[in-house]
């Protein structure tokens, strides 16, 4: 696979910064009480969605999770309507019915975040079945956490996808935590990739480095697209904040959190780009400023939208 050129590198960086800044803003407005329910941010894990989605076109599919903002954004979801959904407004993607845990944009193949851990894995597998059935050449990426690999449907879906050589990549972000429980509670293997052996599919593990993720995801997606079947791709990522915004992570300890924060996929990438002269400090400032402006606009937009009207509550339940 071709190494990404300068423009691509800047694009990766910009997308990662954008996800980071958006989620930082979300933490702020959530803490203000402007967003109902829960939100789960993926700060520290921005490399994966960017590295992966850079291989996908609008017609490819991706399924996401409760911690799925990054993927939806990397796949191209419109920030304004994204924000409106989180604010519970009728202009949102789900008409303000469902919130952060259920973002979906059918037109962009963003199949929907799922509130059920593991729930999206077989659904994404079904999209891959449809792509194969219709011979469209589309590819699907199912994203999930290491905790989800304990659910029965993870196993059932990978088994079926392997048998049918479906065009799908199973991308697991192993951030070592599922809610408040560390990895050792959930699995006796160190690497999620080891679970691939049960289906005779490739299992690959990669560090939280956008370029490496881009490379491995590229291979796996190519394989899927060529009809050679699924891959289980593990990304060793880092959850900085709690399970949801508001979780103080007492169970984890300050040092561990600080350690995780040190392994900052964004800062590392930034340093690399600065060192290689791909970016200058002033470019970074400009990028950040532009993004900040876009975010503020989206938040203002969401604030200005109205909540759904109770009279619309039943609309569209059936076709």
């Amino acid at each position: 696979m071709k190494k990404p050129g300068k423009a691509k590198l800047i694009e990766f960086y910009t997308k990662m910064v954008r996800i980071r800044k958006i989620e930082q803003k979300l933490m702020e407005v959530f803490s203000n009480g402007e967003i109902p329910g829960f939100i789960h941010v993926s700060i520290g894990q921005e490399a994966a969605p960017v590295g992966i989605c850079s291989h996908l076109s609008d017609s490819d599919y991706i399924s996401t999770t409760h911690r799925g903002h990054g993927h939806a954004l990397a796949k191209g979801i419109d920030l304004k309507f994204f924000m409106a959904e989180l604010f519970g407004k009728r202009e949102g993607y789900c008409l303000g019915r469902s919130g952060s845990m259920h973002l979906a944009d059918k037109n962009l193949g963003i199949m929907g975040a799922n509130g059920i851990v593991g729930g999206g894995i077989p659904i994404a597998t079904g999209a891959a079945l449809a792509a194969k059935y219709k011979k469209t050449g589309q590819v699907v990426v199912a994203t999930f956490g290491e905790g989800a690999t304990s659910e029965g449907v993870f196993h059932e879906a990978l088994n079926i996808a392997a048998i049918h050589k479906l065009p799908i990549v199973y991308a697991c972000e192993n951030n070592e935590w599922a809610e408040f429980s560390p990895q050792r509670i959930h699995m006796s293997v160190k690497d999620v990739k080891d679970r691939a052996a049960a289906y005779a599919i490739p299992g690959v593990s990669v560090s939280n480095d956008v370029l490496k993720i881009y490379e491995e995801a590229g291979k796996a997606i190519k394989m899927a697209r060529e009809g050679r079947g699924p891959t289980l791709l593990e990304i060793k990522s880092e959850r900085w904040y709690g399970h949801y915004v508001g979780d103080a992570q007492k169970y984890r300890g300050k040092e561990k959190v600080a350690e995780a924060m040190k392994k900052d996929c964004l800062l590392n990438f930034e340093k690399l780009l600065l060192k290689d002269n791909v970016l200058q400090r002033k470019d970074i400032d400009r990028i950040e400023k532009e993004i900040q402006a876009e975010i503020n606009e989206a938040v203002d937009f969401a604030r200005g939208c109205s909540p759904p009207d109770p009279s619309e509550m039943m609309d569209g339940l059936y076709v």
């Binding site: 979906a104 199949m111 729930g119 077989p122 449907v153 059932e156 339940l317």
Partner: protein
């Protein structure tokens, strides 16, 4: 018209819809090579090939959600769950995913999926192979629940279900599979949500569905010899159920019995009863009575005492007639 079995009518419906629309496909355990555990898809694998008649591993949750994913991408899956009891393995798929995908994602998706499953006792297959769980699904917004009782109905309703853009839980009954009946040669559909008066009568309305339709018809024969004429209303669909038809019949008979094979308590009869008493109680001349199975798992060797019978219906109809306000 021709005489065919209920199971063959199911096959014909699937076959004709698969011919009509190449997006329709069948997925489930042993549906392909073997033609289905009960033979519902016999011949379809040879005709349509392994891409459209998909044999799966024993993974009810997995393949039901896979079908959903395919439906959300424009296909029209028919899922076969071998016995209704096994749908317990796929409840997240059906309740949290299939039923909610459309509404939860702001009506972006249509979810044309049919989940077929045979219910009930009759094969002495024991406690884990004989349950009637339709009331669960009727309680879940986003689903429709169909329960046909005859070869004619099963064909027309399955075709409607496959053409419907909403998820349909399609409940067959194992004892009906072998039943013969006349089925039209032409392409016909029966609308979901419409009941059918299988026998007219003036004295008592019996609202029922699936296997119990036949027990009710037997009961009607028995009762008619004593000069009692019951009206047998076959709901055919329990979600949404045909209030108009039920209320019309009650306005004529002023007495109501509801009969189903499922355990009586918390079964679909409860909802019919509650809705009737809420909305048209003043039409009734006697308490609403229900017939359903006893509150116990289905015992292997006592099936014939367990499953509600025409005698139970006869008895309950008479009780209704003895009572009044």
């Amino acid at each position: 018209m021709k005489e065919i079995r209920y199971i063959f009518a199911i096959k014909e419906a699937m076959e004709e819809e698969m011919e009509r629309d190449e997006n329709v496909f069948l997925i489930g355990e042993d549906v392909g090579l073997a033609g289905g555990s009960f033979g519902a898809s016999r011949g379809l694998y040879d005709k349509f090939g392994p891409e459209r008649v998909i044999d799966t591993p024993i993974s009810e949750a997995g393949f039901t959600s896979i079908a959903l994913g395919a439906a959300s991408c424009g296909l029209r899956p028919i899922v076969e769950i071998m016995f209704m009891d096994f749908v317990t393995c796929a409840m997240d798929s059906i309740v949290n995913q299939v039923a909610k995908m459309r509404y939860m994602f702001g009506n972006q998706y249509t979810v044309p999926i049919v989940v077929r499953m045979p219910e009930g006792a009759g094969l002495n297959a024991g406690p884990q192979h004989s349950q009637c769980l339709e009331a669960w699904f009727a309680h879940v917004p986003g689903l429709k629940v169909v329960m046909p009782s005859t070869p004619y109905d099963v064909k027309g309703l399955l075709k409607s279900s496959i053409r419907d853009d909403n998820p349909v839980i399609f409940v067959e009954n194992k004892t009906l599979h072998a039943m013969k009946g006349s089925v039209g040669e032409e392409d016909y559909v029966i609308p979901i949500g419409k009941a059918d008066v299988k026998r007219e009568g003036e004295d008592v309305t019996v609202v029922t569905a699936s296997r119990m339709v036949h027990e009710s018809l037997k009961a009607a024969d028995i009762l008619s010899q004593e000069g009692i004429n019951i009206e047998v209303v076959d709901l055919r669909t329990i979600q949404p159920w045909d209030k108009e038809a039920v209320f019309n019949s009650i306005s004529k008979t002023h007495r109501l019995v509801i009969a189903h094979e499922a355990v009586k308590q918390f079964g679909f009869g409860a909802e019919i009863s509650a809705a009737v008493s809420e909305e048209i109680m003043d039409e009734l001349d006697a308490p609403i009575m229900r017939v359903g199975a006893p509150f116990v798992p289905v015992p292997y060797s006592l099936e014939k005492f367990y499953v509600p019978s025409s005698e139970d219906i006869v008895g309950t109809v008479k009780k209704t007639l003895e009572q009044g306000f």
